[in-house]
């Protein structure tokens, strides 16, 4: 079960799986060309594609050495990619439909570094995929002690969370995916309207069945959203395997990800207004790994949905701390004034344009805008909280979509303190903590300067709190 000295090829079915993987993208042009009498052209192109994948297969080798994973490929341009064990962020074993039919797997290895795409070994048999995942994860941990990973039996996974069908469906209905169908229908309706001759008849049918259509549309939208969530996260199980966390999920495409806790850059618990009402939330984890166009390597929606009281302890698991401190400190009242003023500038000022032509409408609009600004600003301010200890900083913000971010101090690369003129007058600032992840900044919004000083005093790195001597008019003289 350890590393070896022999370079290995991918599975012989790899070229066929490669062609199948490209099929959805090429299907439409192929049908069009086939229908336009050039059928033999499509067959020739398919054969060429297969030959190309066969050639690629013939020249692709990988070697799992004690130092890392080495992959050699290419005919004309020979490429060799070496991924050292200490740069591996997380390893994911993917089992899409084509893999399930053939009993094979794809292994995605995400590495640290901006712009470095995850390495994908497509078409590997199941046992080999498990071996690679295990050696890369084990080797990363043992590399500090010994050069070669040894045959340590895997610790048994300890389940932390399992999501049933009901929770997943509810998560889909209460998430942004519920807008997928209405948006699709709105765009499609505009397109269809151009082909309708008797628009009056259509309007008549619509107005006579408005309630039925509205209810049907809502049910359909909910069903699509729930279906999408179930499709992606069916059988979601989060478990602890030694010091790492493992996630298994997916209906058609099964994914098994291992997230090393020590690689986690920050953790965010989020819940929109509807999910807060029904007691649900999500967890997103940031790693220092690149994200490819298919989302592999991404751990957005790490826990796609779940009861909030179950997810809150898991945030500590992901952040690698025993307990996440409370975000008990509220931001100064000046932050509320700023929030209301900023909203009023957007919601009230535009009505001034109508002040001469439609004074009553302008007055009513400005009054409604002012009320909305006051309400929205006050709610926003009420959501702003922060806290922390010597391990992590915790910041909360957002009324419509609530976010609680837990930021380990050890992962902070640099600190910035930003102040607009309005914030300077009010003694506020934005405190930006820069981290090595795709969401590169954790921001504590509109925090008081004294509070920022107290927060940074918790940081184990004194260098980070130097920013206060630099900012807020201090130090420079």
């Amino acid at each position: 079960m350890g590393p070896d000295d022999t370079p290995r090829r991918l599975h012989p079915l790899s070229p066929f799986l490669g062609v199948i993987a490209m099929a959805p993208k090429l299907a439409l042009p192929a049908v069009i060309v086939f229908a336009s009498t050039a059928g033999r052209l499509v067959i020739a192109a398919g054969v060429l594609l297969l030959v190309w994948h066969l050639a690629a297969y013939w020249r692709t080798w990988y070697l799992l050495s004690p130092d890392g994973l080495i992959v050699r490929s290419g005919w004309f341009q020979r490429n060799e990619r070496v991924i050292s064990l200490d740069r591996v962020q997380h390893v994911e074993v993917v089992r899409s439909l084509r893999h399930r039919v053939t009993g094979l797997r794809a292994v995605h290895v995400s590495v640290a570094g901006n712009g470095a795409p995850p390495l994908v070994l497509d078409a590997i048999d199941a046992e080999e995929a498990r071996r690679i995942q295990r050696v890369l994860q084990l080797g990363r941990r043992l590399s500090d002690v010994t050069a070669a990973p040894c045959d340590v039996p895997p610790p048994p996974p300890a389940p932390l969370l399992h999501l049933g069908l009901g929770v997943l469906a509810l998560g889909g209905v209460t998430g942004a995916a519920v807008l997928v169908l209405p948006v699709f229908l709105a765009v499609g309706w505009d397109e269809l309207a151009g082909y309708v001759d008797d628009e009056a008849a259509v309007d008549r049918v619509l107005s006579q069945n408005a309630v039925v259509l509205a209810v049907g549309g809502l049910v359909m939208a909910a069903a699509v959203a729930a279906g999408l969530m179930v499709l992606r996260h069916y059988g979601f199980t989060l478990s602890r395997v030694g010091p790492d966390l493992r996630i298994d999920r997916g209906l058609l495409e099964r994914r098994s990800s291992v997230i090393p806790v020590r690689r986690v850059q920050s953790v965010q618990l989020s819940a929109n207004l509807v999910r807060r009402w029904v007691g649900l939330a999500t967890i997103d984890v940031e790693l220092a790994a690149a994200i490819d166009h298919e989302g592999a390597g991404s751990v957005d929606n790490t826990v796609p949905v779940g009861a909030r009281e179950l997810l809150e302890p898991l945030v500590a698991e992901f952040a690698g701390v025993v307990v996440v401190p409370m975000a008990a400190e509220q931001h100064p009242p000046a932050a509320r004034r700023r929030a209301v003023t900023r909203r009023a500038a957007v919601l009230v000022m535009p009505w001034a344009l109508l002040a001469w032509s439609l004074p009553l409408v302008a007055l009513a609009g400005a009054a409604a805008g002012g009320a909305a600004a006051w309400f929205g600003g006050a709610r926003w301010w009420a959501s702003l909280r922060h806290g922390g200890d010597h391990s992590v900083l915790v910041t909360e913000s957002g009324w419509f979509v609530f976010h609680r971010t837990v930021q380990p101090w050890a992962k902070v690369q640099s600190v910035s303190l930003r102040q607009s003129p309005g914030q300077r007058r009010a003694g506020l600032c934005h405190l930006d903590l820069h981290i090595a992840a795709s969401r590169s900044t954790t921001r504590v919004r509109d925090v008081g300067l004294v509070q920022a000083a107290a927060l940074l005093a918790c940081a184990p790195l004194p260098a980070l709190s130097n920013v206060l001597a630099t900012g807020a008019g201090g130090g420079a003289g």
Binding site: S414, S416, L417, Q419, H434, A463, G471, G475
Partner: protein, 155 residues
């Protein structure tokens, strides 16, 4: 390298920024002037006057304020920067987080013998550029920062 001493940028950077601003405002002013002469309407001459005020602001006052807003120091554990006229931004980059030190020099900077040092950490969010470093000092400064990064990392 003297630590703990707040410094302004090298005064030569004012010429660099001024030349950069001139490259923007001169073509705009010239184009507006031609339009005003061809159109012969007082409205266009008003636009030219406003553009002239804007150009004066860009070339003199804004550059002066920007220069005065800049301070930096090599602290005991971090490089600290403070800058910004409208938005004040203060940044602290611990030496042991530095991954890479770049020396950048554009044509205008080359003309005035200046370079810009850009410090990179593992985070794309870190915005730490030190403009107005005399070319003669750049290599020494870069080596010093790299040595500090390596020393602190080892510690």
């Amino acid at each position: 390298m003297d630590a703990d001493e707040w410094r302004p940028l090298h005064p030569g950077i004012v010429s660099v920024w001024r030349a950069g601003a001139m490259l923007v405002v001169v073509p705009v002013l010239a184009a507006l002037l031609v339009i005003a002469i061809l159109a012969g309407q007082w409205l266009w001459w008003m636009v030219v006057v406003l553009a002239g005020v804007w150009s004066t602001w860009m070339v003199s006052a804004r550059v002066g304020l920007r220069y005065r807003s800049w301070r930096y120091r090599f602290g005991p554990e971090s490089l600290e920067l403070r800058r910004g006229v409208w938005w004040h931004v203060a940044t602290s980059v611990p030496y042991h987080r530095i991954q890479q030190v770049d020396v950048n020099q554009g044509p205008i900077q080359r003309r005035f013998g200046m370079v810009e040092l850009r410090l990179r950490t593992a985070s794309a969010g870190t915005d730490c550029s030190l403009p107005g470093v005399p070319q003669a000092d750049a290599d020494e400064l870069r080596s010093w920062l790299a040595a500090r990064a390596e020393r602190d990392d080892g510690a």
